[in-house]
């Protein structure tokens, strides 16, 4: 388990993190979202000891990270792919990480193959496109199969196929009981992959909730054979109703059970009945706007 306990960090006049506390539980994918400069990368770098907190501490598997002598297999991270050493070949970078982590040599080829870089293994990183660098950064993070996987904006410049594959790797990794912390500006993607979403703003966590809880709304979409009849009934009950195209109604302040019972009681054929899910981008706008106005 990865735990941040009241961590703060200042870079000169800039307060990057202000007393952030966060737990990343085994088997859970935590999505970290926030504007540029919100403190996401600083927080993630703290987990591998690249940034040291001014106050608070980071605990990995019950131990403060600064006391650990090796991190291979315990935690791994992919950060800014453009900062990878340009003179190295892809295979050198993965071998160095694998050797330091004590991983069998065979794993190097496996992970390069996994990210689709097997054919470019001997090529210099400086000759790579941004997408290839990103895939290599992911390979470096995955090579030792860490218990805590940290991915800082991993889908930047990735093509849709690899992005889709990445979501699969992340889900599989978490399903094996590992922790995953992933940040991205691509909110639909975070919505798809994360079990829990943490919104950061100006160095603070302003909202942390399970994805289902965060995105659930109190509106229900219902499609019936005679929508005008259901609308009249709902108006009588004082429910806010909005007519949508395709014989669909949006009903506020109600659960699917309630609307189902009302429709059934009115002798209507229910063709579709779902809780309306809010989009993360809308929720995010709302939360960060609240954060700005505080």
């Amino acid at each position: 388990m990865l735990v941040f306990e009241h961590v703060s960090k200042r870079f000169g006049a800039t307060e990057a993190l202000r007393g952030v506390s966060l737990r990343v539980e085994p088997g859970v994918v935590v999505g970290l979202v926030g504007h540029n400069g919100a403190g996401k990368s600083t927080l993630m770098r703290m987990a591998v000891g690249l940034v040291r907190p001014d106050a608070g501490r980071v605990v990995l598997g019950g131990e403060p990270v600064e006391r650990l002598g090796r991190l291979g297999g315990l935690v791994a991270a992919s950060f800014d792919a453009s900062a990878l050493p340009a003179h190295w070949s892809a295979i050198t970078a993965v071998r160095v990480t694998a050797d330091l982590s004590g991983v069998p040599a065979g794993r190097v080829a496996t992970v390069l193959d996994l990210v689709g870089l097997a054919d470019a293994a001997g090529k210099r990183i400086g000759q790579f496109s941004m997408g290839m660098r990103q895939r290599l950064a992911i390979a470096l993070a995955l090579v030792a199969e860490p218990r805590v996987l940290i991915l800082d904006e991993p889908t930047n410049a990735l093509d849709p196929v690899i992005s889709h594959d990445l979501r699969g790797w992340v889900a599989e990794h978490a399903a094996r009981g590992n922790c995953v912390l992933i940040s991205s500006h691509n909110l639909p993607e975070v919505e798809q992959v994360a079990d829990r979403i943490v919104v950061m703003h100006k160095g603070e966590v302003v909202r942390s909730a399970a994805t289902t809880e965060l995105l659930v709304s109190d509106t229900v979409l219902v499609r019936v054979d005679r929508p005008e009849m259901l609308r009249r009934r709902l108006d009588q009950l004082g429910r806010p109703v909005e007519s949508l195209p395709g014989e669909t109604l949006r009903v506020g302040g109600a659960s699917t059970d309630e609307i189902g019972e009302i429709a059934f009681g009115s002798g209507l054929v229910v063709r579709e009945l779902v809780e309306e899910r809010r989009r993360l981008s809308d929720v995010y706008q709302m939360i960060t706007a609240e954060g700005t106005n505080r």
Binding site: K9, F11, T42, R45, V48, G49, L50, V51, R52, G61, G62, E63, V65, E66, R67, L68, G69, R70, L71, G72, L74, A76, A77, F79, A83, L84, P85, A86, H87, W88, S89, T92, A93, R95, V96, T97, D99, L100, S101, L140, A144
Partner: protein, 250 residues
């Protein structure tokens, strides 16, 4: 969990750096440049010997010219080696797995000094072959070429010291130009420093200190000034490099 307390074995860190130096073109180019410059000066130095050439003459010529040329470049190569992890981003790749920073930098330096020794050995062997070839071609025979064996110890020590000082300067400044200015401009000028009537230079003269410390009869003020100079050139960059290691890698 306990396993993660134990740092990565120093030997493994050194072995990993062997791969890294193979990939770092700046360091490889510096090694090659030192080798080529050294061998060119061997050829030039031996080709200009005239009269009856003795082993002592060959040894003196080798110590005076090729050894100096070869060792001089190691300050720059050392600075390139130490600055490269921070400039080209591979410090973060290594430290994400091996978080003990002081241990990593020590292994990095040790592996670089091993590379220095290997290249110096290659230079020594090549220089011996080249000296013999040049002397034979000039009609002096092969026997005087044995003279280059005498300064080999100095060659090795000077290469390692220059490479080590360069590495420490590079680790402290994380800048190759700054290290080169300190190593090649500030260091030779410092021994001329005076404060009023006091000769400050002797306390700052690294080359003078190494010469004094290699002498069998050294003591008193000379010993003190030599130790001070070594402390300045090795100790201060080490302390600066160490303190900078504590800062965040962003």
């Amino acid at each position: 969990m306990n396993d993660w307390y134990r740092p990565i074995p120093f030997g493994r860190l050194i072995l990993v750096h062997r791969q890294i130096w193979r990939a770092q073109r700046g360091v490889l180019a510096g090694c090659l440049l030192a080798l080529v410059a050294g061998l060119l000066s061997v050829a030039a130095g031996m080709a200009t010997l005239s009269g009856t050439v003795t082993t002592a003459m060959v040894g003196a010529r080798f110590a005076a010219f090729p050894v100096l040329t070869f060792t001089l470049l190691w300050t720059a190569v050392g600075a390139i080696a130490a600055a490269s992890p921070f400039k080209s981003g591979w410090a973060a790749v290594v430290l994400t797995v091996a978080p003990r920073r002081g241990r990593w930098l020590a292994a990095c330096m040790a592996s670089f000094l091993l590379l220095t020794v290997a290249v110096t050995a290659l230079f020594a062997v090549s220089a011996a072959v080249l000296t013999a070839a040049v002397l034979a071609a000039r009609g002096h025979g092969l026997a005087p070429a044995a003279g280059i064996a005498r300064p080999m110890g100095v060659l090795l020590v000077m290469s390692v010291v220059e490479a080590g000082i360069g590495f420490l300067l590079g680790a402290a400044t994380r800048s190759v130009p700054a290290s080169i200015i300190i190593g090649y401009v500030v260091a030779p000028v410092l021994p001329m420093a005076r404060f009023g009537s006091a000769d400050l230079g002797r306390w700052l003269d690294l080359n003078g200190a190494l010469t004094a410390l290699s002498s069998a009869h050294v003591g008193g003020l000379t010993l003190l000034s030599a130790v001070t100079a070594v402390a300045l050139w090795a100790g201060v960059p080490t302390l600066v490099a160490w303190s900078r290691l504590r800062s965040s890698l962003t």
